[in-house]
């Protein structure tokens, strides 16, 4: 299982990558593996303001429904439309093609407080 060093992670298994003032958000390799085959994704509309820690979307596997939580606050700038028709991309490419949303952060340094790859791996080692 991979956990890119340059990403930040949350206890709810989302990842965040900050580029050019935007935070790109998805779910971790651990999360996609635990879910199993992803068959449905529901994402917010562009322009919606997300509150940190609040659910912003849903991923469904064959068996289960899971909320996805906003790691940091911000306004949705872009959503990954491809996931609507091909949600399985989240399984095959959780960190690249499987990104979910890009948000304009309210506090540009908010991501600094999230876990780094090492801390996140320690967390999931504890959970599993």
């Amino acid at each position: 299982m991979e956990f890119p060093e340059e990403f930040k992670y949350t206890e709810d298994h989302e990842w965040v990558m900050v580029e050019e003032g935007l935070a790109v958000i998805g779910i971790s390799d651990f999360a996609q593996d635990a879910l199993g085959d992803v068959v449905f994704v529901e994402l917010p509309e562009v322009g919606v303001v997300l509150e940190a820690g609040k659910a912003f979307g849903v991923v469904e596997s064959v068996k289960a429904v899971s909320d996805i939580y906003a790691p940091i606050a911000g306004t949705v700038e872009e959503i990954n439309d491809e996931l609507v028709d091909a949600p399985e991309i989240i399984n095959t490419s959780p960190y690249e093609d499987g990104w979910m949303i890009k948000i304009r952060m309210i506090d540009a340094s908010a991501a600094d407080n999230l876990m780094d790859a090492e801390a996140y791996q320690a967390l999931i080692a504890e959970e599993s």
Binding site: G36, D37, F40, S61, V62, V65, V84
Partner: protein, 362 residues
Amino acid sequence: MKTTPLNQVHRELGARMVDFGGWDMPVQYSGVIDEHLAVRQAAGLFDVSHMGEVEVTGPNALAFIQQLTINDASTLVDGQVQYSAMCYPEGGIVDDVTLYRFNESHFLFCVNASNTDKDFVWMQQVLAESALADVTLNNRSEEFAQIALQGPKAEEILSALTAIPLADLVYYHFCEGEVAGVKMIISRTGYTGEDGFELYLPSSSAVEVWQQLMTIGGPHGLLPIGLGARDTLRLEKGYALYGHELSRQISPLEAGLAWITKLDKDDFVGKTALVAQKAEGVPRRRVGLIMQERGIPREEYSVYVGDREVGVVTSGTMSPTLKIGIALALVDPDVAKADTELEVAIRNRRMQVKVARPPFVK
């Protein structure tokens, strides 16, 4: 937690294990969709050793079974299997079962795993109240392992391990014979809607037989299948599952099991209540639902016509074959006709569904 004789085998195969009604069972190996499609296109191997087996013997075995179950067991011939159910006097379902007839004084019930103890106590109670002599009930669940081999390649794979002419074994019939050198019951039945077999064998031989089937079946595309795909396979065919479509609060007439409810046979437990329910009209009907929009209907989601709540989803999933949401639901009789347009509440939205008569996948 209870384990089957194949528990270690599942772990070695890298299965994800879950607590299924007190049993430590594999929910998936390679992935639910992959496994599902393997069963539809080639073959799959299932450990269903958690299922219960209760033997009924004695000169009055048939007479007892006629009182205990809602289907007509008198139509069975030796070597035949029947899908049936047991009801409470109020008409609710104790369990759905398959019944095997060896001869007129020897039968075997296969019952749902989590219901085994409850069913056995119920059978003993019905027997005690029946005043029938010379009937013996034997819970043999521990002795039996059960392996299901399902899919279009099932016969070809099993034939390589047995001398039994499987082409002569027709659907819902069984025989006794050797597979991989192990004496067992070979039943042409299943819960996937595909051709296939359910093997009842001694627990001590389960690992050996499983490994031989995997070795022979591998080149044919045989995969081990977990409970996840077992559920999606049965849902695509519209088969009921106890605890979802069937329960003490649901009668077989509501559950779509009128076809096995033989109200014209002599007295059986629940008959009076079911005859009355039929005369009055059933309060709910089990139907299939097909999503008309992207979305997955799940158990306990409410079903609506406008503002009126007309029912509830009992099981739902994304169909791996059709790639659309499908469900079974209990709804008011006036909205149970095929093609009726309903709505299902998915989170905060109402989404369009259409009533359909299962199977969803032919």
